[in-house]
Symmetry: C2
C-alpha cells in the first residue's frame, strides 16, 4: 500500500483509476547458496519497513497489477508470481499509518480519505535467485533490499502476518509443487538439495530419510559419473527431470 506516498497531483485523482478497497502485497523470496531472504522496502516518508504492494487499475488483470507493482517498486521484472492467499479481515484498515504518511508528505491528515478505508489484500509470492536480481528503490522508497528471513525488521501494516503465511505456503509447496528445483544449478548433489530443503524448512533433516523420500518422488535423474581415475569420493550428481516433474504435478500420487 505504498500509494500513500504518491505525489500530490496523483494522490487525489488516483481513486478513480483503481479498484477501491482492494490491494496487492508481494512476498519475494530470494535464495542463493543456502541463504533465504525476503525483499523489503523502506518508505521515504515514514520510518517503516514493508512488503512491496499497491493497487489494481480498473483496466488491469490482478496478475498484471502484481507484476507492475513489483517492477515499479523494486526493479524486479518478469518473475513467476503465485497467488497464495487473500487477507480479508473486516478490521484490516490502517488509518493512523496513512495519516502519518499524509502528514509527512505535507497533506492535511484525513481519516476519511479513501486510503484509510478497509482494504482486502491479495497476496502473491515469488522465488528467485537473489544473486541474479538487483533490487532498486523507486521514487516512493528510500531503501529496497534483501533481508535474511530470520532477521527481518518490524513490518508495517499486517505485513509480518502476510510474510509468515507466504513462508508457510512456500514450505508446503516445496513438495507439493517442487518449487525448489528451479533455484539449483542444472546438476547438483543430494547434499546440495538437502541444504536447500533445510534452509527453507528451517531445520536439520535426516540424510537417509531425505535421500529415500527424494528418490521416491521419481523426478530425479542420476548423472553418469565421469571416470576420474582417482578415489571414488565424489558424490553422485543429479538433475531434475522436467518431464517427470510435470508428470508428478499432473498426477500427484495417481
Amino acid at each position: 500500500m505504498q500509494e500513500t506516498l504518491k505525489d500530490s497531483k496523483d494522490f487525489h485523482n488516483y481513486s478513480d483509476k483503481i479498484i477501491q478497497q482492494l490491494s496487492i502485497d508481494c512476498v519475494v523470496f530470494g535464495f542463493h547458496q543456502n541463504q533465504l531472504k525476503v525483499l523489503l522496502l523502506k518508505s521515504k516518508h515514514i520510518n517503516e519497513w514493508m512488503l512491496p504492494g499497491g493497487f489494481v487499475l480498473q483496466n488491469e488483470d490482478i496478475e498484471a497489477a502484481a507484476h507492475r507493482i513489483l517492477g515499479i517498486r523494486t526493479g524486479i521484472q518478469d518473475i513467476y508470481l503465485e497467488l497464495f492467499s487473500v487477507f480479508g479481515s473486516a478490521n484490516r484498515q490502517f488509518p493512523e499509518i496513512h495519516q502519518a504518511a499524509m502528514r509527512a508528505c505535507g497533506y492535511q491528515p484525513d481519516p476519511n480519505h479513501w486510503i484509510c478505508k478497509r482494504f482486502v489484500s491479495i497476496g502473491y509470492y515469488a522465488l528467485v535467485d537473489f544473486s541474479k536480481v538487483i533490487p532498486t528503490a523507486d521514487e516512493f522508497s528510500a531503501i529496497c533490499d534483501w533481508f535474511d528471513i530470520n532477521k527481518i525488521p518490524d513490518l508495517c501494516f499486517d505485513h509480518a502476518h502476510i510474510f509468515q503465511k507466504a513462508l508457510e505456503k512456500l514450505r508446503q509447496n516445496l513438495d507439493v509443487k517442487l518449487v525448489g528445483f528451479n533455484l539449483l544449478p542444472p546438476t547438483f548433489t543430494m547434499g546440495e538439495l538437502q541444504n536447500l530443503y533445510e534452509t527453507f524448512l528451517g531445520k536439520k533433516l535426516s540424510r537417509t530419510n531425505f535421500q529415500r523420500k527424494m528418490l521416491s518422488l521419481e523426478v530425479l535423474e542420476r548423472v553418469e559419473k565421469k571416470f576420474s581415475g582417482g578415489a571414488h569420493k565424489a558424490p553422485y550428481l543429479y538433475r531434475f527431470d522436467e518431464q517427470k516433474g510435470e508428470a508428478f504435478l499432473e498426477k500427484k500420487h495417481f
Copy 2:
C-alpha cells in the same frame, strides 16, 4: 452475484454497504455413495443457472461473507469453506446479464449501475455429504439443487470456469490435504476409499498401486478383524487416524 435480484428498496442502497467491485462465489461439492455433485441455483428473474455468490459487507470478514451468502442462498449452514482462487481478469464484467436481470425486475436497465462494473471474485469451495443437507432456494432463487458434476447445465457469468478451477483444486487436495476422508464412514474398505478417489478424479485406478500409495501415506490404521467363523472373504477395514493425518499435513514428506 445474485445481488442483481434484490428487491427495489435494497437494490439502490446496497452499494453503500458493500465493498465495491469485489464478489464471492462458492463451489459446494456434495459426495455420497460414489456420486459427486455440485450445488447450483437458478435465478428467479433470468433463465440462468449459477453458483451461489454475493458480496462482502463493509464490516464483515470475507470468510463470514462466504458463510452468510451460502446460508441465505442455499440453506446450508456451518460447512467448512476453503478459499481456492481469485478471479481477477480486467474484462470480468457482465453488463448484459445484469441489465437483463434489471429488466426482469421491472427496472430501467442501466449500463452504468455499480453492478455492471468489473468485479474481482474470490472463490471458495466446500465438500459435504449431500445426503445430510437439504438445499433450500431463497427469495431470490427459483431452484436450488445438486447436479451430477458430469451433467451440469450451462452456467451464467464465468461460473463454468470457476467450477472447473474448483474441481481441479479439489482433486489436488485429495492427496495434499486428505480432504476425502471426512466423507467416508468411520471404518471403510480399501475398495470404498478407491471408489471415492476414482469418483473425484473421474478415472479408474490400478488396485495394487492405489493400495500401495495409500498405505505409504501412513495415515490409515487397519481395524482388527472380528472372528466370523466363516470363510475369510471379508475385506480388511481401515480407519483414518486423525493424529497421523495431522502429522502428515504438518510435515508433508519430512
